[in-house]
Symmetry: C2
Subunit: 663 residues, 2 copies
Amino acid sequence: MVTEPPCVSNGSASSRSDGGSSSGSESSKDSSRCSTPILDAERHERLREKMRRRHDSGDKWFSLEFFPPRTANGAVNLISRFDRMGMGGPLFIDVTWHPAGDPGSDKETSSMIIANTAVNYCGLETILHMTCCNQTKEEITGHLQKAKRLGLKNIMALRGDPIGEEWEEEVDGFNYAVDLVKHIRCEFDDYFDICVAGYPKGHPEAESYEADLRHLREKVSAGADFIITQLFFRSETFLTFMKDCQAIGITCPIVPGIFPIQGYHSLRQLVKLSKLEVPQEIKEVIEPIKDNDAAIRNYGVELAVSMCRELLDSGMVPGLHFYTLNREVATTEILKRLGIWKEDPRRPLPWAVSAHPKRRVEDVRPIFWASRPKSYIYRTQEWDDFPNGRWGNSSSPAFGELKDYYLFYLKSKSPREELLKMWGEELTSEESVFEVFTCYISGEPNREGHKVTCLPWNDDPLAAETNLLKEQLEKVNRRGILTINSQPNINGKPSTDPIVGWGPSGGYVFQKAYLEFFTSSENITALLKVLKMKKYELRVNYHIVNVRGENIANSPDLQPNAVTWGIFPGREIIQPTVVDPVSFMYWKDEAFALWIEQWAKLYEEESPSRMIIQYIHDNYYLVNLVDNDFPLENCLWQVMEDTFELLNCPTEQQLNYRGGEEP
Amino acid sequence: MVTEPPCVSNGSASSRSDGGSSSGSESSKDSSRCSTPILDAERHERLREKMRRRHDSGDKWFSLEFFPPRTANGAVNLISRFDRMGMGGPLFIDVTWHPAGDPGSDKETSSMIIANTAVNYCGLETILHMTCCNQTKEEITGHLQKAKRLGLKNIMALRGDPIGEEWEEEVDGFNYAVDLVKHIRCEFDDYFDICVAGYPKGHPEAESYEADLRHLREKVSAGADFIITQLFFRSETFLTFMKDCQAIGITCPIVPGIFPIQGYHSLRQLVKLSKLEVPQEIKEVIEPIKDNDAAIRNYGVELAVSMCRELLDSGMVPGLHFYTLNREVATTEILKRLGIWKEDPRRPLPWAVSAHPKRRVEDVRPIFWASRPKSYIYRTQEWDDFPNGRWGNSSSPAFGELKDYYLFYLKSKSPREELLKMWGEELTSEESVFEVFTCYISGEPNREGHKVTCLPWNDDPLAAETNLLKEQLEKVNRRGILTINSQPNINGKPSTDPIVGWGPSGGYVFQKAYLEFFTSSENITALLKVLKMKKYELRVNYHIVNVRGENIANSPDLQPNAVTWGIFPGREIIQPTVVDPVSFMYWKDEAFALWIEQWAKLYEEESPSRMIIQYIHDNYYLVNLVDNDFPLENCLWQVMEDTFELLNCPTEQQLNYRGGEEP
């Protein structure tokens, strides 16, 4: 009766799973006992591993190239573009290096700082370009050390353009990209993933196409992990190049660089720089329409789409690299038409992760910074360890100061004039502030007919999730409960839910209802009476604080309260969001300061408008409420109703109402 | 319009909660970031803090005194008694010290080892008695060091009886309990909580009642934390003593020692030892019934109940200490009649916690040892850190060997003859083994008319929770799916649920369905075919292994799977049970060995019965299954149904069946 089972692996304790991928177990080796369950394998992989995984699975990918902006305002806009284009799911972005623009400096427009922002604040896998000619070894090492310190993990190693017409090789200097590749491997071992440039038509300065291929092979042999090509105009050009590379033994990934033609002038400039020739058939189309930007862009999109289709259909191209020229429309359209723009990217966690390697295991954050993730990342950038599994005891979480409210990656996307239109050129009373909040929630235009698309605490329109609460939020804001953060309770929705879902598929997500708002001390008095009634006492945790730090709470023992969690197949539990009473005291400084820094300062000193905001800042309370009974109907709206009812009562009735209160 | 809110505390970041208790935050100071949420404050408190908390809250408590057993069998029985009487919720137990019985040794009957077992394996707060006369300072320090190492935290400091009739004080020696108290405080600072004895009628050897009170005050001044009194027969005796103590400035808790009269002889012996006089009215009742044990015990219970009521009603007594004489019935009855026996003690976690201080933060365990928690504690006793929050990466969890299956705290409560009656004097086939499992589940008597109340893997009858699955379990065991561990799926029941609830009230508990069983390789072949069908592939995690460690699993990346978790008000999430693929490989050694050690060895070598068990041990597989879709109906029974159906098919149909399988 005994038959051998069909497949058994003779296993030791350390290698005996026949399912899943091996990369996960590799990265878990160096983590401590209390490690993050590997929800999203990519978060734990280096770029070359991600590429390999995509190659193996056959998932096509894309990447995006940007150059550093010229002005601080340009930087603000570029960061917004990173956020928007990041939504489409690029495998990485890269930032070019302009030796003339002080690329390694701390200026907000430097290549280094833009790449740093992309990694740390936008959570994008990022390649920093770096050129080597006309630089000393020490300068280059300094740049690389700085890049490493900032959490950058990938370098595109380039020669760069020599200064002046004539150029002489320096003995022992960096004359070619291969020298930089060797230097990186020598000084930084395997820390960086290294990318090098390939020239499908051969480098313009190379002796021959064949000689250039040999140079490329040298760069790969010296330690480059993959190749991105210069632009080209015909898919055959790339495919031939790729076969030629393989023929001489280049086996690493070769990614075609796609240049969507977006305008007559940018094309001409590029051709001049790259010394490439535009094929006759393209010239013939473009010349007649050279003053019609829209027509050229449409043509450029068509051209790129058909070339990309040919590349993808060849079966030799797992990913496409786009020279965006820092523009959004054409590239996004091409990606959407190719079907590789992820319309609904699955969120690995409910908040925006940072791609800094030291934050790889981070999987818990306080809910307060939900709409200001960049501020949270900034204020915790000096931490050596990031909470994972539990928030734990955070009696001294050491949040960095947020003194500079004009840090470019935290700056409002809207200029002052627009903010004034949204938030009121002139405020006449606290009620006019209530109206601003109400309009933000409702989406209705304000009295002057302007839509309120942001608030100091929310630089973006209402989240889809918050929309679920719109009606109730509108009602309470009208009454001076000025909400800045909220989430509905969720009792086990699929992790793939388009609004509240996150994490891998097959799981279930949960939330406790949360509400955070500013309100007057009169309202607080009534609210507290309501909260201390028997029916809310055990169910609702509250924490109320004013700008001076005077506070009232019923959260026991200063312990954090998990308000978002997920249960996944074959995984430990993830609880990415907590309400932590200690962190709330740090957040309240920021939340109160935003009244002044973002709003009051729009008005003249001593002006009535400014004084109204100042009054609110000085006298209102910031409140957070959690309804612990997540399987039941959210009771926080009833708390609000009861509070309004109490406020409507004449004083005598209020006194009677105290009967419901605990002694 | 602005009024001041009714109550604000001017708070700094470190002290600003007005709710909850302060003791929690004190103990959380020394925990790391990834700390256990304080679910059960008592787990983090020392005995004197627990006493204070009960005193403040007005919750009456009780404690139980035991003496070490004479034989190893007596030790096994005493440990079972600890478990049973522990269910009633004693604040602590204490173990007496008998200088003649080598009390500090490693013998299983020593005071030290019995107290160690109570703390570590039964999870009871325990006081170890210790006497000091006729011992050297070094001996005493040695005992105390050993006690500390074993996790004992409380000492009852006694003088002990001098050897011989005459007794001389030793200069610099330990002549009185106060010397021991001083020594403990001097050598161990504040590590131990110290208890001392009080004599309501004065110590028989004291010059006077007043002189004895002064001695008691000295013991307290020297560092004792509380007092337990010698027995007495009238409540006035204690109340007078207590007032006299307070009058001379003794302010620590004084706990009355209650001696339920349980028999004529034990009373006489005690009176002789304690030199107490039995009041005339008691003698008059007892003498006429001295040969009727039951009558005396009933009288003793009545007497104790009425005296305890008087003590509790006085308002001066927060707790009662019982001299159990290692018996169960009388004390339990008194406690139940007084209403201080906790009929349904709330489980702080789904498994039995250990009271060793280093395990204070432990809150995650693999599910495999659910019915053998003492084995789990034994095998992890050398760990320095215990998982909390997450099981995490346990690629080398370093489980201690469990070679000695006869460790007295792991030994079956039933003697060999009883086990043979339950498990069969003679086995004729594998099917007769199936019958034993089936009878254990069903509760029906076996062929010989004996109930099967334990199995090698389960020393206790079916858990209430397992009863929920009884019908299905019975069905599959009949078919040779020999289940040893299981739990139903639970989708958010109140934490106070009498069957599956745990943790503080107001929370919700969840479970994934779990099933663990031994079965033949023929069944495994069919099971694997079923499991690899599309409909189970993502939903069910499986891990199958034989005694040689050959195994098949689909759990990805060797990650643990949380199968029990709870959500509580104002707390982070607790996930106390995981299915960990690495730990399973350690458990399987134990699980397979139990076939031989507990069952096969009941029979003669070479006997058919023994060979049947040996065959199962050598050829069967151990399987665990988790259904990840906890909100849906448990699919594991359908997996079993499908497997049986497949086994019923003729071979040709089996081949067709493979159509449903993945390639």
